[in-house]
Symmetry: D2
């Protein structure tokens, strides 16, 4: 059984685990005040070309989204997000639990546009009863998105410009940021994110760490007292070094980018193979998540050898599913998956030129 259902099916990249072993007996202070965290912060600032960034390490994505958003909003404000945004649908109301509404905009390929933000904000400003409405107070996007798609530089620049015009902080959820940076056709760098956003995070959990997300804060107002907020939300890990050591390893010699390229490259191989089998896709993703549409007839047999996520019913006979690659995925596993699909296709006597 090989697992493709998500990008966190295994432990940590071996170099990370090795480093945890090497440093295990060191005695350090707690709560992220140790030297490993300090060095990791420096490496991340460097990678972002952002000397003045504040960098903090939190444990997980939901916690990070909640902490950042609750820190930025006043009580009557909400956060603009694509309706497919992770905070809108898959965090058990964590944002609402801090008192704030998620104001959804209809997504386009998992993304929202500067124009949508402008329209939403102007509509609010011009509503005669606006004090009876939740005020948009910030913008949340994901890079890559829930659909595996990415914002290009021009799109990010437009979003940034409209956010700055209206005084709306822009926050990028980077749970899968590495895969977006390594995506086919990506023209966005960490330095661009630092320059164009108020705050973003560099995901570790889905990129080879045991767990951990590195929040990069550019907005001065948000920097103030941020450690209090991390503590209050339960994110100030006692053995904070555990996060520092992992991000140190990921950023000291490019491992973060290496892992990203590895997973994206295998995802592209998988995509090509699926296309050759005549397969269509729910989303056109240049990153490590692939969303092929498969005939229901072959899903059951495929499940006996591989795990994947059922995404959405497409029609009576077809279902879109998700396959993810990660640091631990091997070329053999992808080949085997494709071979198995080919086998089932033949067995079911499907047309040579089409899986669907």
């Amino acid at each position: 059984m090989t697992r493709f259902e998500c990008d966190y099916t295994q432990g940590a990249h071996p170099r990370i685990l090795q480093r945890l072993l090497e440093t295990n007996m060191e005695q350090t202070s707690g709560y992220g005040t140790d030297e490993h965290c300090e060095r990791a912060r420096g490496l991340i600032r460097q990678a972002c070309e952002a000397d003045r960034a504040d960098v903090h390490f939190l444990v997980g994505g939901t916690q990070t989204n909640t902490t950042v958003i609750a820190a930025l909003l006043r009580p009557h404000q909400g956060v603009l997000s694509a309706d497919t945004g992770h905070i809108a649908g898959h965090e058990t109301g964590a944002i609402e639990s801090t008192g704030h509404k998620v104001l959804t905009l209809p997504h386009q390929n998992g993304k929202i546009t500067a124009e949508q933000v402008r329209e939403a904000y102007e509509a609010h400003l011009n509503d005669g009863a606006k004090e009876h409405l939740v005020q948009p107070g910030m913008v949340y996007i994901s890079q890559s998105t829930e659909n595996g798609t990415i914002y290009n530089l021009a799109e990010l620049q437009d979003l940034s410009a409209v956010c700055r015009q209206y005084g709306l902080p822009l926050f990028v959820d980077g749970a899968r940021l590495g895969y977006a940076l390594a995506a086919e056709g990506s023209d966005v760098t960490l330095a661009d994110l630092a320059r164009l956003t108020d705050v973003f995070y560099i995901g570790g959990t889905k990129l080879g760490a045991l767990m951990g997300e590195a929040v990069v804060i550019m907005n001065e107002a948000l920097k103030r007292d941020f450690r209090y907020l991390i503590k209050q939300r339960g994110g100030l890990l006692a053995k904070g070094r555990l996060l520092g050591i992992q991000f140190e390893t990921l950023f000291e010699d490019g491992l973060y980018f290496e892992i990203s390229r590895h997973a994206v490259s295998l995802a592209m191989k998988l995509r090509s193979g699926l296309q050759e089998l005549g397969c269509g896709f729910l989303h056109n993703s240049p990153t490590n998540q692939q969303f092929p549409i498969l005939p229901n007839a072959l899903l059951e047999e495929l499940r006996t050898k591989h795990t994947f996520t059922t995404w959405e019913k497409v029609d009576e006979k077809h279902t879109a599913v998700r396959f993810c690659t990660s640091w631990g995925t091997t070329e053999e596993e992808v080949d085997e998956l494709l071979a198995d699909l080919q086998g089932v296709k033949q067995k079911e006597q499907m047309p040579a030129d089409a899986l669907c």
Copy 2:
């Protein structure tokens, strides 16, 4: 420099790290649904002699306290706690951030009594304006306490009885539970806790794990939907196996208790040594935290070789400090600490029979 300031200055117990290495390449499902978590839950149920307990793994203590307490209370209720309780003073208002007041009772050696709970609850019931007050909705205690002290079985039984009489769930914060179980004179077992409380947790972070706390739920109402609550509070670790593997290792052959005994035994050695040096103590602790009162004159020099926590000013010339032992503390480190104290004492020409 040896570090005694807390019980989380090092990584994980080597057997835990070893197990993480061995299992690293296994592919498992996420969010605590894997086989390691399942096995760990079984081992903990067994250790607690509680077949019907629900066991969940969360990342840290503040998160665990917040998740449990917010799950148990209705909006108008608060949680009774010693005024020294961790939730009352050292979690940046995490409980209040979920909408609930911490109702403090004056501690006695870090503890509260069944009688105090009874009085507080009766006082509430008999207050003519009680609807203008926060209603006590549950009781929170720590084992061991912030002062290093422990509840004995009779005290726990009394608390449990009064809680059940009034319908107040009893929750035990076990961040340092192992040290309490291994304490000199302890007559409380995990099975007692399971029998006498509604919910408690077995701390991993301070007992040799990289991080992690195992919540044991006995109360049926609290069991319902608890995983939603963990997710909402950011505690549902994607690579949940990381917690399962650690608790599996801690509980499969008694490592949890071994670590606890090791640390308590060294703490007792430290306590004896300090007593022989003529030292007094702020709290009389039978566990891994020791709170000696030291002359300010020697603190500065001691700090050049050892770290510890300044606890409280006792008088103009004396300060109470905290030393903690843990799985990683060695007998040599304790000997060295005592020798250094002896050295400073001589250098400062203190009386032979008194450090203070």
Copy 3:
């Protein structure tokens, strides 16, 4: 200038003000414990044929919705509501401010169906990742709705049945309940509401009171400690008698129903008049709110003599607006409004058979 923009443009029905005058110098206890509140509670129980109902008086609608909903839900739960529901759009995120998401369903004439509730709940139950989603915890509807429409008895019975099947409390926002009871074709009584719901409220503010809403609780679990919750949300009026006296007056000899019939009857007259002028309607409302579609060309002139609410742009040349009638609306005002419309229509040389 006559005001039709809402149903709270004037003070209180004269009989209510008269009663406040008569009782002004009486000395009573506070917070709703006085005899007027007690009598009003009895009258409402009687009107609802619900001896065991708990009745509480709160000041306003947003406060009432927030207090009831926050009292019913556990932290991970949300409230199902039509996307047009007042709590979804016009309370500045009050529900979210208590930690809960409003789970919207697409409305049909301002209403939701039992089938929609069933589908939403079943979809939740069957979602493999349901613990990552907000759990539906109750159902909120309005009678009459934001669109002026009403649920008939069969619709309410179906909703009640599906709610009971799934253990979802059913809450009816009755800010305009009187108008629904008095609506053309209504077959629902207060006793039906008491029988079919867990909790509902009888609006006073929009039905002739200075302010005030009477919450009727049937659900035993919600009854417990409800006064604490009212106090916490700022709804326990010190001079609670003010609410008691008003509801006493409204319910001792049918004034509540008299006011409702008066306003609905004038709304029906307005509707007929508009129809005769060839006017179409955005919603087909049998209650005191009417939503005609008018040519933009005549809105400006109409505004010089009457106030009303701009509701929604229909096309480039037409806008839907809202007119409300209330206890204070007179037949002369309705006649004058219709005459003015007729005048503008002639002036603008519109076809004899159509306003639009």
Copy 4:
């Protein structure tokens, strides 16, 4: 039976009710946008000599405290208050329900000092683990206090200075502000409050209105979007005119001050009479609340003719109680109360020179 248990036992001052009658049929816009509210805001600005103040009308005290405090604090901050403060003890955890801790300081006669605020804030700043603590984010005081005492001008100036030094907004709960302004020996004016605080409110409920509190905001940051916050907390009364008309009446020709003087003058008469009877007092109050210590022996008989509040047990034989005067209290009622006390004293054969 005459009622002295609080200052809200009757309806409204007759001139207020008269004005409500006169304006009842006027048609106005809602939510505080009408002309009466506008005029009342102007009159209050004038009375406060504060042209740039923002003035808002809310319904009750708990709601006002909650709205202001939640608007001023970031999530990790709490509010400094006397331990006797209304928000600390008598609002069912309303402040905590918005996520914030009330940080209590030991009161002195119901008050806190600038020095206490300084010490608390410095202690926080200098705590090595301060990020684990709730950060003091503002200061809350009451004028008059829960004990009936008042801050004099020098005390207020000192508090204001220390608050400004540390950037802590100063908020004055003025539920009984009129009585403080009219107190014996008061040297504080509304203009002083406007000059020295960031925000305060002028209570109506306890000063002759049916209900209503006027919030005066001087702090620019707090002014922004405050109406959204009022709406979210359920305080934006639909018939807002009801509040405007009442404050218009209270402030157009000094009725607010007249009522205050009347009640304080009768309270002073009551105090003198009690002193002549040999009575001691729990608090030395120069305002409308009096806290005499009475022998338990006579309380029961007194209760057959007068209501009052049991405040606190003083010793086995004595109890402190509270009597309040208000706009509706008459000199005859005070005389009668004193006569009844004199009668019981004789009947119980108490010494001529002592009630206690």
